[in-house]
């Protein structure tokens, strides 16, 4: 196609109107940085709270409690829950957080019975550095989720302090479950004894069932079992449980999505403005091109291509920066011992780019159409 040969004309319009292009690209990049960041949080909410068919984990919490400090259950519920049909493992956990408020840098300890953990609730965990044996043999040893370890710069052998607990890193772990990625697993008694004596008390039980179809019936059975007990329970699928504790974050992220849409509107306005001004200042130039034999639809395509190119450069820049910040910071939004990751993958980059290109096309449509409709002689008279 001949029109491909004309694209250097478009790139030259951009590179040789340097200041105008840089300002536009800069604006687009900032807006797309914000949009991509919001999108990364939103993806994290979806990842942490959307149930999938392969989920087999239930969380047993104290009824009507919404934070680890007040959810207290007797550890001996474990035996009775293990007796229910369809339950494959029960892991009692004591959860302690370094910061009760919502923050990007909370350290969450999960005290678990070490001997049974790796074959129960910790089954999907992969030790990527350090060793599980170390963890098993030392009382103060901790297995750190990858996100937490990277954020705090912790490596096996290092000691760290948080939430009044001093622990030694025995290993770094990786898991598909965002909750594992952002916690420190230590011995149950170690956490129970930290600060005050809470032996025999746990925050929650993580219960694995043999089949995801059993999640609801088993949850009902557990809650029924303890309905009249001193400490009644409320049992949820893990994702629903996260959604329940982190609902204020989720609401905020939901609101932030509007800000994200606002950013897209800003990009649209910015690009449209740049194109409209560019087209207006080049009325005679486009008439000259037509005089030389350029067809009006070719002019329209060149105008749209210019918007698309500006958008693609700005969008890519913004998305890459957002992704790099999210990746290098290893952030996760934490609240009440739960964790909402900030997802920063290449899908996000692609999405940002596609959205931006679509905006570029939309922004150029009207000016391109107008420019291609104008009669050539009118254009020459207009200037």
């Amino acid at each position: 196609m001949k029109i491909i040969r004309c694209f250097p004309y478009v790139t030259k319009q951009i590179t040789r109107h340097r200041v105008r292009s840089l300002l536009t690209v800069f604006g687009i990049a900032i807006a797309m940085f914000l949009f991509t960041s919001v999108q990364a949080m939103n993806d994290g909410v979806l990842e942490a709270t959307t149930a999938t068919a392969s989920d087999t984990t239930l969380v047993v919490y104290r009824e009507d409690r919404y934070c680890p400090a007040t959810s207290q259950l007797p550890q001996d519920y474990q035996r009775r829950i293990e007796g229910i049909d369809g339950v494959s493992s029960v892991t009692p956990m004591m959860v302690v957080v370094s910061n009760c408020r919502t923050s990007l840098d909370v350290v969450t300890f999960r005290g678990v019975p070490k001997e049974s953990f790796l074959s129960g609730a910790g089954k999907g965990i992969e030790v990527i550095s350090g060793s599980a044996e170390d963890w098993l043999s030392r009382t103060d040893a901790a297995l750190l989720g990858e996100t937490l370890a990277n954020r705090r710069g912790l490596k096996p052998g290092m000691r760290f302090d948080a939430a009044g607990i001093t622990a030694t890193v025995a290993g770094i772990v990786r898991s598909d479950n965002p909750q594992d990625q952002n916690v420190a697993y230590t011995a149950l008694e170690f956490v129970q004894l930290a600060g005050r004596d809470r032996l025999g008390i746990v925050t929650q039980f993580n219960v694995k069932v043999t089949d995801s179809a059993l999640l609801d019936p088993v949850a009902d059975e557990i809650d029924e079992m303890f309905r009249t007990a001193q400490e009644p329970t409320a049992t949820f699928g893990e994702k629903a449980f996260i959604g329940r504790l982190a609902d204020d974050i989720i609401e905020l992220v939901g609101f932030a999505r509007w800000l994200g849409l606002g950013c897209l509107a800003a990009v649209l306005a910015l690009v449209a403005n740049s194109i409209v001004l560019g087209v207006q200042s080049r009325i005679a130039e486009h008439a000259v091109l037509q005089t030389l034999g350029y067809k009006s639809w070719v002019i329209a395509v060149l105008i749209i291509a210019e918007g698309v190119l500006l958008c693609a450069i700005g969008g890519l820049l913004g998305a890459v920066v957002a992704l790099s910040v999210a990746r290098s910071g290893n952030y996760a939004l934490s609240v009440e011992g739960t964790s909402i990751p900030i997802v920063a993958d290449y899908g996000l980059l692609l999405m940002g780019l596609v959205v931006c290109v679509v905006i570029g096309v939309i922004a150029g449509l009207v000016p391109a159409w107008q420019a291609s409709r104008r009669s050539i002689v009118e254009c020459f008279r207009a200037v």
Partner: protein, 228 residues
């Protein structure tokens, strides 16, 4: 044989209720190889006639046949394709694209033709050499004088080797010596390459380079005198 034939050529514009007729029933024959100078007071319809011959405007009445093609019957796209093959337009204010170098400006019309990069390069070299400005190929319009810009514009107009060159007051914005150089250039294109040239001019001196001069007044040809 007539190369360009205008019969009852008319262009009207509606402005609200009033109708303006910049061109009012012009009959004109131009032979291949003519160098026609069009004179007349401002507003007499010279540019309008030139734009019709160049195919960037269409008549509201009458017929305009160029080398067997009736321009008044061509669609907007067909007309564009016709222009790219047959016409080179030289403007009073050069109208070079400011962000492109002289070389790139001359390349613009060639991009529409089926030519390789190498073939385009050859054509651009030939055109720039003919107008005597090869040494300025990499300069941007703002780095050139008016006379040099007009020469680049002429190179752009002849790069595709069209049979017709139209020029609207090509020396109107130039000093005497640049004007003289541009007129000599046009004359050479006419005499050596056989280009048919239709030129609008205000300056009676420039008509000396033409083979024929016609006068327009209020949209009509008033007298015709052969100078050659």
């Amino acid at each position: 044989m007539n190369f360009i034939t205008c019969r009852d050529l008319t262009r009207e514009y509606k402005k609200g209720d009033t109708i303006i007729k910049p061109l009012d029933g012009v009959d004109l024959d131009i032979t291949s190889g003519d160098f026609l100078a069009l004179m007349g007071p401002s507003g007499s319809g010279k540019t309008t006639l030139l734009n019709l011959v160049a195919g960037i405007d269409s008549p509201t009445n009458g017929s305009l046949v160029i080398d067997g093609t009736d321009l008044s019957k061509l669609s907007r796209n067909k007309l564009a394709a016709w222009r790219s093959k047959h016409v080179g337009y030289v403007f009073q204010l050069y109208n070079l694209v400011p962000v492109l170098t002289a070389y790139e400006n001359v390349e613009l019309p060639l991009l529409l033709h089926d030519l390789s990069k190498k073939q385009r390069h050859e054509r651009i070299q030939i055109a720039l050499e003919r107008v005597g400005i090869s040494d300025r190929a990499e300069h941007f319009p703002r780095q050139l004088s008016g006379g040099q810009e007009q020469r680049v514009a002429i190179a752009r107009a002849i790069a595709t080797d069209p049979d017709i060159i139209v020029a609207d007051e090509p020396t109107g914005d130039l000093d005497k010596s640049s004007a003289h150089a541009v007129m000599q250039l046009l004359q050479t294109l006419n005499s050596e390459l056989g280009k048919t040239i239709v030129m609008v001019t205000h300056d009676p001196k420039t008509t000396e380079y033409a083979t024929r001069t016609l006068h327009l007044e209020k949209g009509k040809l008033v007298e015709a005198e052969a100078v050659a």
